[in-house]
């Protein structure tokens, strides 16, 4: 009994300053500090950067990648990856245009079709990964090409325009003073954090990422969980596709090209281990915000696009190195 009380003191009874230090030195804490520094530097060099208008605009732009980065965090925590989300976004965008314009259905139905199409695309990824044991990298690399090809085939390289005015509210309008899609992103973030931290699904994701065999031998529903998250990933890519069309007012089959890399970069920058078993939504969100603000801040400071990419790449590398170093030091403590 005496040892139990002692262990309680060591385990739970940390002083407030110790807890604060723990938070500041966690993966997310460090990233957050880097993010604040970046914002400070960017806002000093250009007065247009730290304005409500500009930040709202950036909020719009990061919503699509953000929505896809959430399920991507889940997937990478299990040790998997989903390279096909950019293509699913494109396919869903085409499904909106095709169902509405070519099939002459109401736009509401077209949106539902796009969401269903995205979910189905994700479900197919998951099904083959689980049933046939294809590595996620290979499976989604194949569907990266396949879904993009499908989008091009359906659209026959024609773009669709002339959507009704109300539809643009999602991508260009505001709700309670905030960009509409930012609300969606915030709701999705809250749900994702809750699922990952509090539910059996979240626990199962970490268990699979650390040791899938052990998870299975403990009776956890490994296959079902993987199926759920790949389907969820497809659904979120579909939702991003709908928002993309609404923001862009046009449908083209090359939409979302390469966005999967932005989503993965944000997740990894946010401290989620590419080997699985470790990671958080907060980290991913900081990653998404950081990439977007850097891109924007450099652009309005007159840095050319090519140079911007170089700077972003450098910041990513520095952030990861600093973080690795600090986590290593903490572990040896």
């Amino acid at each position: 009994m005496a040892t139990m009380e002692k262990s309680k003191m060591i385990g739970d009874g940390k002083s407030p300053s110790q807890i604060l230090k723990d938070i500041a030195l966690s993966q997310e804490g460090i990233l957050f500090i880097i993010l604040v520094l970046t914002i400070m530097i960017l806002s000093r060099s250009n007065e247009n950067f730290l304005t409500t208008r500009n930040l709202f605009n950036q909020g719009r732009l990061m919503a699509e990648v953000g929505l896809m980065a959430l399920p991507m965090t889940f997937i990478i925590i299990t040790g998997g990856i989903d390279l096909s989300v950019g293509s699913i976004l494109g396919l869903s965008a085409i499904l909106v245009g095709y169902t509405w314009s070519n099939l002459g259905m109401p736009l509401e139905v077209a949106i539902v079709m796009a969401l269903l199409g995205g979910s189905l695309a994700g479900f197919i990824n998951g099904l083959i990964i689980v049933r046939i044991n294809v590595p996620p990298l290979i499976m989604t690399l194949a569907t990266l090409a396949f879904y993009r090809g499908l989008a091009q085939g359906i659209s026959e390289a024609r773009s669709v325009t002339g959507y009704p005015e109300w539809f643009f509210g999602l991508g260009q309008g505001t709700f309670l003073g905030f960009p509409s899609q930012l609300w969606l992103l915030i709701i999705a973030i809250i749900i994702s954090i809750t699922v990952l931290q509090r539910t059996t699904l979240g626990r199962t994701l970490y268990a699979i990422g650390n040791n899938a065999v052990g998870a299975r031998f403990s009776g956890l529903p490994v296959d079902r969980t993987l199926l759920i998250i790949y389907t969820f990933s497809g659904f979120m890519a579909g939702l991003s596709g709908v928002i993309f069309v609404s923001r862009f007012t046009t449908t083209r089959s090359d939409m979302g090209n390469g966005l999967e890399l932005d989503a993965i970069a944000a997740v990894v920058l946010g401290g989620t281990s590419i080997f699985g078993g470790k990671g958080s939504i907060i980290g991913t969100i900081i990653g998404v915000v950081m990439v977007q603000l850097l891109r924007n801040g450099l652009a309005i400071n007159g840095v050319t696009n090519d140079a911007t990419i170089v700077v972003i790449g450098s910041v990513l590398i520095v952030a990861i190195l600093v973080n690795n170093q600090i986590q290593r030091l903490r572990q040896s403590e």
Partner: protein, 504 residues
């Protein structure tokens, strides 16, 4: 008396927070097999790493081949003639047998600035080395990855010979071997002894010490306890030297009241390892399942637990037929499985004790999928108290626990699921003697006091004989013999396990 090849005196080694070795000294003679015994954490690994040049001692001396030496890295030690075989073999699976043997010192021809590997010489020398070990059937051009563990070990020994090793250190070499491989390893080791190589042999298995070693040195908590001639000591003395107290009974079997049939399996088939298996386990009964490695015991257990699905046959729980295609269903029907491979199947080592202990009952500790962390903590606290798991908190990472304590976490995880039947697959493998007795006591108590039905798979015959009420023997995917506790003997079980082989 011959001069010792290795003489270690008064070695001290401290790591942050641990005084790992406190003045240890012993010696090894040429042509001697010297066993090193001790519980996990006794300092054996640290000691051999110091001898092999991996660590530097804080103080103390090493005398090798009559000279004082101070190896600063493993290469120094190797060049001087110390070869070490660690538990994880250090071979390259993609390369051939010959390439592995000559890794780092391949015979080569020089052409001015260039040198080219002399493949023919390498192959013929590799063949000669293997023949010196009386191994004639191994293709030196074969990829090491395609060999079984026993043959890989032979390659490792040949590698040590190629370096002209005068001292060979073997760290638990039989941990992953089948019984026939153990025999051939022993004869190779004896061959080396005849050649005058000094051998340090680390093992948990006392039987091996008595079968193989000439002398034995015991360590405990980093201290030197003593060195004995194997012919002048016995098992009880060695155990009490290792644990510092005498363990009066390694197999504390309690008298249990045998109740109704809990599990019945009829004509279970899953090719190729499970062919027509039928048996029963009753409440309060411990049924031992003996057999050689590869006889299909674990595979059959995993079919019952739903890891693999049966092709045909029936499983009954309390007389009711049940369908099990997934572990979750088995758990629902009250079946628990403590697997053989604790590191990957039993535990998620990177996660905390709390998360591991609640893993099989995650549904019970959550409401509408939301996990109740307090309920989890309670289960984990109970487990720590009830089973004496040595941990400072429920939030400790499982990987930081010793083997015996990890096993207790796995067992408490399954007891949390409140099972009717618990299948224990090699429950004390890789666990030291003290923890072994504790796990046996726990099993006995579960059967006798809680009326649990226990199916115990074990490759250690003393464990099978000491713990089981009834013994089943498997061979080639079938149950070939059944004995009661009274009629079973080591000879009878051994014969049943192997009789097919003796015909060939």
């Amino acid at each position: 008396m011959t001069e010792p090849i290795l003489q270690v005196t008064d070695i001290h080694k401290r790591f942050p927070g641990v005084h790992a070795l406190k003045g240890v000294g012993f010696d090894v003679r040429p042509g001697e097999i010297h066993a090193l015994l001790g519980e996990n954490g006794a300092g054996k690994s640290t000691l051999i790493k110091i001898i092999a040049g991996v660590y530097n001692p804080d103080s103390g001396g090493i005398n090798f081949g009559g000279q004082a030496v101070a190896f600063t890295n493993p290469r120094d030690a190797q060049n001087a003639g110390v070869a070490t075989m660690y538990q994880e073999l250090s071979l390259y699976p993609e390369l051939t047998v010959a390439e592995n043997i000559f890794m780092g010192h391949a015979p080569h021809r020089n052409f001015g600035l260039f040198s080219i590997v002399d493949w023919n010489t390498m192959y013929s020398q590799a063949k000669e080395l293997l023949e010196e070990l009386e191994i004639y059937d191994m293709d030196v051009k074969r990829q090491v990855g395609t060999l079984n563990v026993g043959n890989r070990q032979r390659v490792e020994i040949a590698k040590a010979l190629s370096l002209n090793a005068r001292l060979l250190i073997m760290d638990e070499p039989t941990a992953a071997l089948t019984e026939s491989d153990v025999e051939s390893l022993f004869s190779t080791v004896r061959l080396l002894r005849e050649r005058g190589v000094g051998i340090i042999y680390i093992s948990h298995k006392l039987i091996e010490v008595f079968e193989l070693a000439d002398r034995v040195t015991v360590l405990r908590d980093g201290e030197y306890i003593g060195t004995k001639e194997v012919s002048e000591t016995n098992e009880g003395e060695l155990i009490s030297m290792m644990v510092g107290r005498s363990i009066d009974n390694l197999f504390p079997k309690q008298e249990a009241e045998i109740g109704d049939v809990v599990l019945e399996v009829r004509n279970l088939v899953r090719e190729p390892h499970t062919k027509n298996i039928s048996f029963q386990v009753r409440a309060g009964e411990i049924v031992g399942l003996a057999g050689l490695v590869g006889s299909g015991r674990s595979e059959t257990a995993q079919v019952i637990f739903g890891i693999d699905t049966a092709e045909s046959g029936d499983i009954y729980i309390h007389g009711q037929p049940v369908k099990i295609t997934q572990p979750a269903q088995a758990i629902e029907h009250g079946i628990a499985y403590v697997p053989e491979d604790r590191g990957t199947q039993g535990l998620i080592k990177e996660m905390t004790i709390r998360e591991n202990v609640s893993m099989a009952v995650l549904k019970q500790v959550s409401h509408a999928s939301f996990i109740d962390t307090d309920a989890e903590k309670n289960i984990a606290k109970q487990a720590i108290e009830q089973f004496g798991i040595r941990a400072y908190s429920t939030e400790q990472i499982a990987n930081k626990l010793s083997g015996g304590n990890q096993q207790k976490v796995v067992v408490s995880k399954w007891l949390a699921s409140n099972p009717l039947l618990i299948i224990m697959d090699e429950p004390t493998r890789g666990v030291d003697v003290g923890a072994k007795a504790e796990i046996h006591r726990l099993m006995s108590a579960l059967a006798a006091e809680r009326g649990l039905a226990i199916l115990m798979i074990s490759s250690e015959l003393p464990e099978i004989l000491g713990m089981s009420d009834r013994i089943l023997v498997m061979r080639d995917g079938e149950i070939v013999a059944e004995f009661t506790r009274e009629e079973a003997t080591q000879q009878k079980i051994g014969a049943a396990m192997m009789s097919a082989e003796s015909v060939v």
